[in-house]
């Protein structure tokens, strides 16, 4: 366990302490205590920057299950460091924001911060694990903690619905991903991502390659809310806004991006990867931005915009895989796509984080997030307005914000794709820039909606629950920090280029970088009247026109069939599955013990009878048997008569005494078959249990036969005969087949020498197999105490119950 491991585990340890802090230090908001951790982690991870800037990496391994090759391996390279800094940095800001957002007195903060810290630890684990199994474990932990966070206000129906939905979809993807990981690790015979990446060329030719890729992409697409799995993200907006800002914009949904980026070195050479990742991403971007426009909930708009932006990054990663098909870096235009992906990842975290926080402020101060009720807040909340302008304009891709730069790079990459002569792009290539452009137009429109619907227009105080005013300063700190980063990265993008972007991009496409070399990352603000710049201008002009005439064409959305949506598909399949399993279970769980016994015995007969028949296992060998004596035959007859008496007995006394007769006959058999210990025990037991039966007899009802229908009786008889037949057959066959000598020689030889006894049975019980006996007496004790409890201890359920006793 190195310091790196402890860094991953620290949030969990902290989470364990939170409830105590909450209980003891009630005067201080628990958030202040929690805030320390992400800050410390952020600063301590900064010291890895010099290492990753040289495209080096650090690896620390701790054994977990060494026999299976599963180790807790922490691995820091450019890509994981970028994510770690996002997780801890945004995490610190979110915690700070939540201190003002969540009331100290009204909310159960201990839950909130425990879940949040769990999530933070899980996220760190995901991005720092080199072992796929560890990665999977942390991955599912993010799903679980996200479930808990979304359902934080668990008394609301929508929260529970959203939490369940996100959990079902992401865990479904996670399980697929686990399958992919296993296939991959079987192919490469290792669980380490780094070692798998080293074998990438061989893996590419493996027949299971495509399967592994698709399964892993399931995981990435569900987590990153790509089409058609995006439906959980809008419903996840029921979570408290700090959670949305953290999980659903900056970190968790980016885990899918991380996964795609991390596995790019293994999969990206394949054309399937390019097409699947690229087109799914691009389509998601267009579809979600198109849908964002019609939303009326402010957080709904942001949710769809997040889906759309994630699609954008995803498509860039897909496009970037084309870079691997060039041998040298010199004329490789497609590394630009990877660089753009990384750059936009950072930018999105900053502007979307600040926008979510702004939304939270609006919600907090006005009591609503419905844009139909909001308006004219510009003069009332000037700082919030400024922040949202910065965030939204950056999202729309307007200068001088960082979103402009990465959006330009995105458009550029898409334009270049059209000229690529790989993967049949000649025919379809033009689609990429066109779709990208359409998506950008809608992005522009909803960005404008966020700003001008809320802050512009007419102020409608009568529709608001509270009298709006500017938020407290503490709540504004975090969005101000993020908004300043938006401007800072916008004006000086090269602050990031070699410190964070280059190392991260280099980890995504390592194979084309020569040893000691670096990608050329130079982001410039102005690069002439290029195609992409013209496209941006087009976006702005068309966007403004469409925004102006929004009321004219918003009705267009009504033409889409309302019933045929992915959400309805999800709901219907959930409903059908529930109904189906319920009625299926109902059909065989009848509640009658007879039915259950019939299942058991029928299965017993079928499976064993079938096996005996198919394997030809029946043997009959009477050569090696003991002789049949006069006494034995007599005893058998007595035993069978007693058994028959039980079956036909009309009174309970008869059946109990007959059962005793069977028991005594069995003990006589024990004598004949040279088992004195058994005979003794059986005799005494039979006596004691007959006494027991007679004692209970007093309390038990008269033996009512509860006569059954003929049909049932015959069925019972058939099953009983079947079981008897199978048992006899197995007994005879087993006796006639001796595959190996008995182990009893060991006991016979060693009873005296090793255990110093002469009665083998007793020595086996107390010495050789003493464990069995120890547990047996434990079971007996439990039985006795259970009986004592059943009779003596009763729940006081009111007078009526006691009268019956």
């Amino acid at each position: 366990m190195s310091l790196l491991h402890w860094a991953i585990l620290a949030p969990f340890i902290m989470a364990a302490c939170v409830p105590f802090v909450r209980k003891k230090a009630t005067a201080i908001h628990t958030g202040w205590f929690v805030l320390i951790l992400p800050l410390v982690l952020f600063v301590s991870f900064l010291q890895y920057l010099p290492v990753t800037m040289k495209n080096d990496s650090i690896m620390q391994t701790a054994d977990w299950i060494p026999s299976l090759g599963i180790n807790f391996t922490a691995y820091v390279d450019g890509l994981s460091l970028l994510f770690v800094l996002l997780i801890t940095g945004i995490g610190a800001l979110v915690v700070l924001y939540s201190i003002y957002y969540l009331s100290k007195t009204k909310e159960s903060l201990q839950h909130f911060y425990v879940y949040l810290l769990m999530f933070m630890g899980a996220m760190l684990g995901v991005v720092l694990s080199d072992n796929v199994i560890t990665l999977y474990m942390f991955w599912e932990l993010t799903s679980i903690s996200s479930f808990l966070l979304i359902a934080y206000w668990f008394d609301r129906d929508r929260s529970r619905y959203g939490a369940l939905k996100s959990m079902l979809i992401t865990v479904f993807g996670g399980l697929m991903m686990l399958g992919g990981f296993l296939v991959l690790s079987i192919m490469g015979n290792t669980f380490s991502i780094r070692e798998l990446a080293a074998q990438a060329p061989e893996l590419n030719n493996h027949p299971l390659f495509l399967l592994a890729m698709i399964l892993i992409l399931f995981g990435a697409f569900t987590k990153s809310a790509q089409f058609p799995f995006y439906i959980w993200l809008p419903d996840a907006m029921e979570a408290p806004t700090p959670v949305s800002a953290y999980l659903h914009s900056a970190t968790m949904v980016k885990a899918g991006i991380y996964l795609v980026a991390r596995f790019s070195p293994i999969f990206a050479f394949s054309g399937y990867w390019f097409w699947i990742v690229g087109t799914v991403g691009l389509f998601t971007m267009v579809w979600a931005s198109f849908n964002a426009v019609k939303q009326t909930d402010l957080k709904g708009i942001l949710a769809f915009s997040t889906v759309s932006q994630l699609g954008l990054i995803m498509s860039l990663l897909g496009a970037g895989s084309a870079a691997l098909h060039f041998d040298s870096l010199d004329d490789n235009l497609y590394t630009a796509a990877v660089i753009a992906a990384v750059f936009h990842l950072i930018n999105h975290a900053t502007f979307k984080g600040s926008l979510f926080m702004v939304t939270g402020i609006i919600d907090h101060e006005t009591g609503t997030r419905d844009i139909r009720r909001l308006g004219g807040l510009m003069s009332l909340m000037p700082i919030t307005f400024t922040l949202s302008v910065i965030g939204a304009f950056s999202m729309a891709g307007l200068p001088p914000f960082n979103g402009f730069l990465s959006k330009e790079m995105f458009l550029l990459s898409m334009v270049q794709l059209a000229e690529l002569d790989l993967f049949n792009l000649e025919t379809w290539g033009l689609l990429f820039p066109v779709l990208a452009w359409i998506g950008s137009v809608f992005t522009f429109i909803y960005s404008m909606i966020i700003v001008f619907r809320v802050f512009g227009g007419k102020f409608q105080p009568e529709k608001l629950e509270k009298k709006p005013h500017e938020a407290p300063f503490g709540m504004l700190i975090s969005p101000i920090v993020l908004a300043s980063l938006v401007i800072l990265f916008g004006l000086f993008p090269n602050l990031l280029s070699y410190s964070l972007i280059q190392p991260a991009a280099a980890s995504i496409v390592p194979s084309i970088i020569p040893n000691g070399g670096q990608l050329d990352v130079h982001i410039s603000f102005w690069h002439g009247f290029t195609t992409e710049f013209m496209m941006t201008i087009g976006v702005v002009i068309i966007g403004i026109i469409l925004y102006k005439f929004l009321p004219k064409w918003i009705g267009m959305y009504d033409y889409f069939p309302g019933k045929v949506t992915l959400n309805n598909l999800y709901n219907a399949s959930l409903y059908t599955a529930e109904r189906g399993s319920h009625s299926l279970t109902k059909s065989y769980m009848t509640g009658f013990i007879r039915s259950y016994l019939v299942y058991i015995f029928a299965f017993f007969i079928t499976i064993l009878g079938f096996t005996i028949w198919v394997k030809g296992a029946f043997r009959f060998d009477s050569s090696n048997t003991a002789s049949i004596g006069f006494y034995e035959v007599g005893l058998v007859i007595v035993l069978l008569i007693a058994t028959a008496t039980i079956l036909i007995a009309k009174s309970r006394l008869t059946s109990i005494i007959s059962l005793g007769a069977v028991g005594y006959s069995v003990s006589l058999f024990f004598i004949i078959f040279r088992a004195p210990d058994l005979a003794l025990t059986q005799l005494v037991i039979e006596t004691v249990s007959t006494a027991l039966f007679l004692l209970c007899f007093y309390h038990l009802p008269k033996l009512s036969r509860h006569e059954e229908k003929r049909r049932f009786q015959i069925g019972n008889a058939v099953i009983a005969a079947g079981v008897g037949l199978i048992v006899a057959l197995i007994g005879i066959s087993a006796h006639s087949t001796k595959l190996f000598p008995s182990i009893n020689e060991y006991y016979i030889k060693n009873t005296y020498t090793k255990a110093g006894g002469e009665n083998m049975v007793n020595v086996i019980l107390v010495d050789f197999r003493g464990f069995d006996t120890l547990f047996e007496i434990a079971v007996l004790s439990v039985a006795a105490l259970g009986i004592y409890g059943l009779i003596k201890l009763r729940l006081e359920k009111g007078g009526e119950q006691n009268e019956n006793e």
């Binding site: 009658f592 016994l597 003991a626 049949i628 249990s689 019972n716 182990i743 083998m760």
Partner: protein, 113 residues
Amino acid sequence: MEILMCIVAGLLFAAAVYLMLSKSLLRIIVGTGLLSHGTHLMLLTMGGLKTGAAPVLGENTASYTDPIPQALILTAIVISFGVTAVFLVIAYRAYQELGTDNMDQLKGTEADD
């Protein structure tokens, strides 16, 4: 003899199963008791019958019967005693509380779910 004992055990099993499938609680309990008798006989038979003297050293004999099934059965006898006792008490408590020993009525109604 072994063949005969296998058949006897089979018959005991059949009778036990028939009793267990009936509706009366007491018959079910008697059935389980019968089932354990059948099992014990079966186990003993599997070790071979009358192959030597009782498994107590010191007797002047060349061979002993198999002690392992005997040890197993001894455990089983005592355990089945405990099981029967628990069964009986559950049965009589159920009868006390619910006033029936008919399995069909003990099932309860849909509304109880």
